[in-house]
């Protein structure tokens, strides 16, 4: 391991960024280890994009220390930019430029670029090589933007909501790309509000809200909780009367219909509890489908920490 590999790829401490009277980022701490994938998770307006743009050198922090590959992203921008790949939120290209032309232009800015044609093929863009950017679908624009971020063989990539506007197939493709980057030793910092994305891709998840870190850890760490707070979920006909079930369950267990037809039993879930639930279902003459005992989902953690109200 060389010295650069033992140092974190991104190190942010006490970051503050204000826009007028609003504080977008308020004392944020972040550390992305070399060769790992970090997901910045948070509701809209939590400060994710601002944080990323400070790391990319687009914005100047009002306070705090930011080091990216050991460099100051603003002062050492010229030295840093050839080593990072950036996928800005919403992509970016000339409205009239053809997909192939755009990637070639970005490739020409790099010292040792990947072959544009190969990258377009991998990302399934070969059939729109000559299509003007403004006529690409949202998902195609996103994939072109990802190609632009990767074509310069970066050591570190910033992906700001990389899969927004993508269909499930394209999303899987991007996830595979991120996994491949990680396997190649590339560090990745991505923002998302998709729990599944964070859970699938990230070594380390940082949940931010109101510009601050509210929780962080590996997906497993974040979703592990004490044994008295497990969940049993199942699906059945909507609107069942759960009062009998509540009475039959041991003390400390609660049952609720979380969504229409989705029931959640919370508490210490042991074999006895599972048996009680299935017996009750049999009494009701319903089949419990997708019965699942386990940890809270990352989404539960997220909603618990950031609240349920709309932003």
């Amino acid at each position: 391991m060389s010295a650069s590999e033992t140092r974190p790829a991104v190190e942010v401490s006490g970051l503050v960024k204000r826009y007028g009277s609003t504080t977008a980022v308020d004392g944020l701490e972040l550390r992305l280890a070399h060769g790992k994938v970090l997901a910045l998770l948070g509701p809209n307006g939590a400060g994710k994009t601002t944080t990323v743009e400070v790391c990319e050198g687009f914005l100047r922090p009002d306070a705090g220390r930011v080091r990216v590959l050991g460099l100051d992203p603003h002062a050492d921008s010229g030295e840093l930019r050839p080593r990072i790949g950036v996928m800005p939120q919403g992509g970016g290209a000339y409205p009239g430029v053809r997909a192939g032309e755009m990637l070639k232009l970005v490739a020409s800015c790099a010292a040792n670029p990947l072959k544009p044609d190969w990258l377009l093929d991998v990302l399934g863009l070969t059939n729109v090589l000559k299509t003007p950017y403004k006529r690409l679908s949202g998902g195609q624009q996103q994939r072109l933007s990802l190609a632009c971020a990767l074509v310069g063989r970066p050591e570190l990539v910033f992906l700001d909501e990389p899969t927004s506007g993508m269909d499930p197939q394209a999303r899987r493709l991007v996830w595979d790309m991120v996994a491949a980057l990680r396997a190649d030793g590339v560090s990745v910092l991505l923002t998302t509000h998709l729990m599944e994305e964070a859970e699938t891709l990230a070594d380390h998840v940082v949940i931010v809200d109101h510009g601050r870190v509210v929780a962080e850890g590996s997906p497993a760490q974040l979703t592990t909780e004490d044994p008295d707070c497990q969940q049993l979920r199942f699906k059945a006909r909507a609107g069942l009367d759960t009062s009998l079930l509540t009475a039959a369950l041991p003390e400390g267990c609660h049952v609720a219909e979380a969504a229409s037809g989705t029931y959640i039993v919370t508490g210490r879930v042991d074999p006895q509890v599972v048996s009680t639930v299935t017996a009750w279902c049999a009494q009701q003459g319903v089949l419990a489908e997708e019965l699942h005992v386990g940890r809270r989902s990352l989404e539960d953690v997220f909603l618990e920490l950031t609240g349920r109200e709309l932003r």
Binding site: R81, V86, G91, A93, Y94, P95, S108, C109, K134
Partner: protein, 237 residues
């Protein structure tokens, strides 16, 4: 890098129908129209008075209006941020656009010059050299003004304003009606406009002994002012 950037920008301009209309078709139509049809009274040979006006118009059309609109929409589509995030040095981000703008102006002047010669224009060599120098200066000045407009406001607003300003300067800014045929008070103001200065300079360069110091000074002052302000106000998105 610089050449790849400039080549892409030039190609995009030449591929865009509205840009072609603005930078070539309208100047070509006006050059032929004013030379062949007696719409405004001009001394013979008419083409000698029409060419300086059309050269000035062509430079203003591409460097100002065309540049402003393209920049406005490029910002909307996030291309500046995209390029700013690559290894492309900052000065090249500007340099590529300037080079592309000058290339387009060169193409315009060659096309219009050839057409003018076909219409009976026979310029002197010093006149041609001066007009090229003025064309470059005019392109830089109007380009800076175009960046000032296109780099600051929303794309739709840029589109509207760039076209309105083009139209007003064409009619009242000393291009179609030269400053000398206006009332003296108005003429003084018009000569201080970049459009009036460029037209006067082109006229004196092609039909006199050189562009004269005033048009050059006026263009330089506008260009420097616009560059300084644009440097502070231009935003990537």
């Amino acid at each position: 890098m610089l050449l790849a950037h400039a080549r892409t920008e030039t190609r995009l301009t030449l591929r865009n129908g509205e840009q072609i209309l603005l930078t070539l078709l309208i100047p070509i139509a006006l050059l032929a129209g004013f030379t062949l049809i007696d719409i405004i009274s001009l001394p013979e040979p008419r083409v000698d008075s029409v060419v300086p006006r059309i050269f000035a118009l062509a430079v203003m059309s591409s460097a100002f209006t065309g540049q402003a609109i393209a920049l406005g929409f490029d910002r909307r589509y996030g291309v500046l941020k995209r390029l700013a995030a690559t290894a492309l040095p900052r000065w090249m981000l500007v340099g590529g656009r300037v080079l592309a703008g000058l290339t387009v102006v060169a193409i315009q002047l060659v096309v219009l010059g050839v057409l003018a010669i076909a219409l009976g224009w026979s310029p002197s060599l010093p006149g041609v050299l001066w007009s090229i120098a003025l064309g470059v200066l005019g392109a830089l000045t109007f380009g800076a003004l175009g960046v000032l407009l296109g780099g600051t406001l929303r794309a739709e607003l840029v589109l509207a304003l760039a076209n309105i300003i083009w139209f007003v300067l064409l009619l009242a800014g000393g291009i179609i009606v030269r400053a000398e045929s206006m009332p003296s008070g108005v003429a003084t103001i018009v000569e201080l406009l970049p459009s009036g200065a460029l037209t006067e300079g082109m006229h004196q360069a092609l039909n006199g002994a050189g562009p004269g110091w005033q048009p050059v000074l006026v263009l330089v002052v506008w260009g420097v002012l616009a560059s300084v302000v644009a440097g502070r106000t231009t935003r990537l998105t």
